[in-house]
Amino acid sequence: MSSLRYRIRAASRTVFSGWSVALALLSIALLGPFLDPIRALAAPAGETWLHMRSTVLGQYIRDTLILAISVPVLAGLFGSVSAWMVSRYDFPGRRSLEVLLVGPLAVPAYISAYAYEGIFGYFGPFYRLIRNILPGLALNRYPDISSMPGLILVMAAALYPYVFLLMKQAFRNNISNALEASRSLGDGAGRQFLRLALPMTRPVLAAGLGIVMMEVLNEYGAIVYFGRNTLTTGIFRAWFGFYDLSAARRLGGFLMISVFLFLGLEQYLRRNRGYGLSGKRQAPLERIPLRGLRGMQALILAAVPMFFGLVLPVGRLGTWALRELPDARWSGIFEGLGNTMLMSIGAALLITSLAVIIGYSRVRRPHRPLIALSDLSLMGHSVPGAVIALGILGVSSWLVSLTGRSWLAAGSIGLLMFGYATRFIAVGQRPVSAEMEHRLRVFDEAARSLGRGSIHALVNVHLPNMKRVLLAAFSLSFLEMIRELPLTMILRPFNYTTLAVRSFELASNEMLQEASLPAMLLVLIGIAGVLVFQWGEVIRND
């Protein structure tokens, strides 16, 4: 009997160290494509770097900072207010709104930027209308959408759903006890939101803002179109303009270091504030019904971000797409549709699985260096996809020359999948890790004390209770994947296209109308993805 117990303990110890090994190996693999840029920071500065530093670097840093701060702030405001409205109140149209509020995730930011220019440009419907009403208004009196405030609005409206999704979950499921107490003390709605709901969900908000900031840092198309320069656009200038790889890597390293500092700050905030959320399961928040005028007001307030992120750009795309319907080239579009679905589902499953392994390993083996390594491996989300793709090309040519295996070469699906995982692991891992951290501290000891080892505990006890967060990780990665562009373009096999690639090809020829059709399909798939996600929530809540 005691020898059996001893054997179990010994076996489980092996498995525990297995978790550390898994975490270390996965993190290192995911970091592989970034090693060169970080190393480049240590090398002496070249001529291009000195030139950029003395001319444009200051401006790049300034624009990067402005965007990296103001876009998350606005997106945070959009996302948390809407999330609060749909979780706290019930009003006419709430159910549909909950789905539509996530819709902007299916609209690539650069497409949104083109659509905004299409609406608010001089020949767009907006100023046409204004000119009809006020014929004498001079052009220079018009506010210009392609300005910094315009860019901030376009990007925040495209990215707030990350905050919305995470905050809605947190509001719905983690604060109901405290909120009921506050309400019974007679606190008003605004006070409940600002004094209670927001502070209690601060770590979740930080995670959401983190995702938004990373998206901002890697954005390329919308920023270039609006004539701005960031560290990311600078990387491309150094690389493909000056053909100076070391300067490009240096800029990339610079960008990564700032991301790492930010991640550290987020960790620090999380630790310092504590989680604020109890591990105990709470009843879902009761919604307060609002009828009549108050219901309308609530609907309008909650729908503001959706108006900017979905209604305006999709309205523009939709009218363009209708015009294109008669002479569309369907074969390419259908091919792109099939590939988009298959690849996005496959990659989202892969990312979710990896997120589970990493998240569990982090909780099982919270060694500081290992955690730091794993934090570093989240960087992919903030680095422009093209930079990762080129890093992966490097890793791949090294592996192929080492092993002679062609499935490691560019153009193979395996390498493409590796690229997607590197790029988007943060999207899956952030929600999964956050949930695991606060859930498993409470339940894991109990689950493992049943004596069947940690894999058993993970698969049989924890995962079934984390369905919703797993679905969230899956659907967020899916929504990222359907829009993914640079990795697919650079690493894809011959004759392989996706909807995002197809719409980019057309848009890059300045054929925006033609591009609108695949872009619209992309939006529809995205909405379908959101519906699946919502459906998962409903099951769980019943």
Binding site: F123, I345, G346, V459, N460, I490, E514
Partner: protein, 348 residues
């Protein structure tokens, strides 16, 4: 309970299965028979039609990967001798020159190509060949503005303050234009020119070539620097607003009394390790031939590289013009200098 658990086992196994099946299907995609593998920066439907036509004529399957030339060049470099690519197609001479200088292209001796493509539109070593020409011209509003500008130098003349529209300096067409100015006049003169243009800009650079022409018609500025084929694309747009812009646009070919209008090429070269070299040469010959050249001109409003082929109706309506016959290789060599000058002049 057990149903649920199985569900989550599947969650882990499924992606592995999916990946396996995807890799198998990708590996099985290579049918036997003649193929030619193309890396191309030309994302035009007309190009795909031409490839289909080539397959019809020769039975050679054309496999394509579209991406930016810079990315494709990096991929070629990483793949090295194992690269499956046979033909690299770009939309700019600088990138062809760069691919050539990296040793990624091989010379092609072909009587057909020598006959179809004039000497100034191909590299001396026959590493690459131009397929179409694009002129960088000045657009103005015919209904409103006197076309009193007649050279690139005028764009920098203080008389035109707040009247010039041109896109960002990260755009390769602008980089090539400044590279050409450097090649002709040297770096100091080029820098003066860039500073002058920045001083004359009606607004900070933003948007694409079409947007510059829209801004001209909107009255935000008077003269926009654009590539010719975008005028054709505007005139044939599905958007009535864009057609309206196209109809008002007039074109000035700069430097007709001097060295001629700056012309860039879209072109192609056979890769150094092409596994299907002969097919690549056949495709290149086909693309330089009368049928394909007419398609480029008709569908995409580009100037054919093959002098025997008539440009489209619209292009003809602009009349003939004097072209700058600068050696295109020089443009590639001056790219970095051009970017440095843009940065120093504060041209975003």
């Amino acid at each position: 309970m057990s149903m649920r658990n199985r569900c989550f086992h599947h969650l882990i196994i499924l992606p592995l299965l999916l990946m396996l099946s995807l890799s198998l299907s990708a590996a099985g995609g290579n049918e036997p028979g003649e193929v030619v593998n193309v890396y191309s920066h030309r994302h035009y439907d007309a190009d795909q039609d031409l490839f289909d036509r080539f397959t019809e004529e020769t039975g050679i399957q054309v496999n394509v990967i579209l991406a930016s030339a810079d990315e494709l060049i990096e991929r070629l470099r990483a793949e090295g001798e194992a690269s499956p690519a046979d033909l690299l197609i770009t939309v700019d001479a600088s990138r062809l020159a760069r691919a050539a200088s990296l040793g990624l292209l091989q010379p092609v001796d072909s009587e057909v190509l020598d006959e179809n493509i004039p000497g100034n539109l191909r590299s001396d070593e026959r590493l690459w060949f131009g397929l179409t020409r694009r002129a960088r011209v000045i657009a103005y509003d015919r209904t409103r503005t006197e076309p009193d500008i007649d050279s690139y130098a005028d764009l920098a003349d203080p008389a035109y303050q707040d009247r010039i529209l041109i896109r960002s300096s990260s755009n390769i067409y602008n980089i090539s234009l400044l590279s050409a100015i450097i090649a002709h006049e040297g770096e100091a003169a080029a820098e003066n020119w860039a500073r002058g243009v920045v001083g004359n800009m009606a607004r900070p650079p933003q948007g694409n070539d079409r947007d510059q022409m829209k801004a001209v018609i909107a009255g935000e500025g008077d003269f926009a620097v654009v590539n010719t084929y975008y005028v054709g694309l505007l005139l044939n747009s599905d958007d009535p607003g864009e057609r309206e812009v196209g109809e008002k646009i007039g074109i000035i070919f700069p430097d007709q009394n001097g060295r001629g209008t700056h012309v860039n090429i879209s072109g192609a070269g056979v890769t150094a390790h092409a596994p299907n070299r002969d097919n690549a040469v056949r495709l290149l010959e086909f693309l330089s031939g009368a049928e394909a050249q007419a398609v480029y001109a008709r569908e995409n409003f580009e100037f054919p590289a093959n002098p025997a082929v008539e440009p489209g109706e619209l292009i003809l309506s602009w009349g003939s013009f004097l072209e700058d016959d600068l050696d295109l290789t020089l443009i590639g060599e001056n790219n970095s200098a051009a970017l440095r000058i843009f940065d120093e002049a504060g041209w975003n």
